[in-house]
């Protein structure tokens, strides 16, 4: 039992990661929203971490800011827009779908389409060879006949 409590304690601590106890909001609903928003925002100091995971000073300030905006009654989208207005689209870990990012979002689909087209073309060509053997020309016909006759003789 004590071991279980210990393990649960460690798991809880690990899941709490960088959102420090003194940063958390008293309202569990708001706090849950704050955590979700924080996971979508890039920490600009360490770039490949979200502000929820990072221990950078700026990440701490931004976590507090997110919570302040929520307390002030902002919607999730408004909080994200507030940060994007100051730091640009780059802070969003998941880039929005817009003209500048079409290539980024459509590349996987393009790759699938290209690959599928390649396979279809390849299969067709192979089937074409297998199913429709071209008839022998008169000269080939004559040569075949000659070879067969030679073997029989």
């Amino acid at each position: 039992m004590r071991v279980l409590a210990f393990i649960l304690g460690i798991l809880w601590a690990a899941s709490a990661a960088a959102a420090l106890p003194n940063e958390m909001l008293a309202d569990p609903g708001l706090e849950a929203r704050a955590r979700e928003i924080s996971k979508e925002l890039r920490c600009l100091v360490c770039q490949n971490q979200s502000i929820d995971e990072s221990n950078a000073d700026l990440a701490h300030d931004l976590r507090l800011l997110v919570r302040e905006r929520l307390k002030a009654g902002d919607s999730d989208a408004q909080v994200l827009a507030y940060i994007v207005n100051r730091y640009g689209q780059f802070v969003l870990l998941k880039p929005p779908v817009e003209p500048a990012t079409y290539l980024l979002w459509l590349t996987p689909a393009l790759a699938v389409v290209l690959g599928a087209t390649g396979i279809v073309v390849y299969m067709r060509r192979r089937r074409g060879i297998a199913v429709e053997p071209t008839a022998l020309s008169a000269a080939e016909e004559a040569r075949l006949k000659r070879i067969l006759e030679e073997r029989e003789a």
């Binding site: 000073d57 700026l58 994007v84 207005n85 100051r86 730091y87 640009g88 780059f90």
Partner: protein
């Protein structure tokens, strides 16, 4: 003939990728394009850091081309940058500053020891105004035009090259 073209395709793809990666070698992955370029400087008003010098507010940045330097006494690259700022001040360039997330006493000591190139210094102790300016790594330096629009942002210490090739030409162009 068409077969041959098919064999060249992977080579072309490789060359394209190689060119893209080669071009990427020179780019700094930590550079973040500022969202504030060509936008008005944020509304703010910071108290003065020093007793004999005013603080900094949005109104101070209008009606002239302004340079705003964001620094902190705890920031190592700022120390590297400081002599450049001193030289600019000596050349008669007006510099304003935001002291970002700093201990007041440390910042005062910094200016006493290293020299004070600034005309106005606002103290952003909580770092809230810094966030409004999109500051993510001190030092940063902004060029603001007469209408209070941010025209340029330098992230990281100013070098002699950046001052000579980018900042000063921009300032004189905006001052016309």
């Amino acid at each position: 003939m068409r077969r041959h073209l098919l064999f060249i395709l992977p080579l072309l793809l490789f060359l394209g990728l190689a060119a893209a990666f080669f071009a990427g070698l020179d780019r700094d992955p930590h550079f973040v394009p500022s969202a504030l370029i060509d936008k008005p400087a944020p509304e703010f008003a910071l108290p003065a850091l020093l007793d004999d010098r005013p603080g900094l507010a949005t109104a101070d940045l209008k009606g002239r081309v302004a340079l705003v330097n964001v620094f902190a006494s705890w920031c190592v690259p700022c120390r590297l940058e400081h002599p450049m700022l001193m030289r600019l001040a000596k050349d008669g360039v007006e510099l304003d500053a935001i002291d970002y997330k700093d201990n007041r006493e440390d910042a005062k000591l910094w200016l006493t020891n290293l020299g004070d190139p600034y005309k106005r210094v606002g103290a952003d102790v909580a770092g809230v105004v810094g966030i409004d300016w999109g500051v993510y790594g001190v030092p940063e330096t902004f060029v603001i035009d007469r209408d209070g629009i941010i025209r340029f942002k330098q992230v990281g210490p100013l070098s002699a090259d950046v001052i000579q090739d980018t900042i000063m030409p921009l300032v004189s162009q905006l001052s016309k």
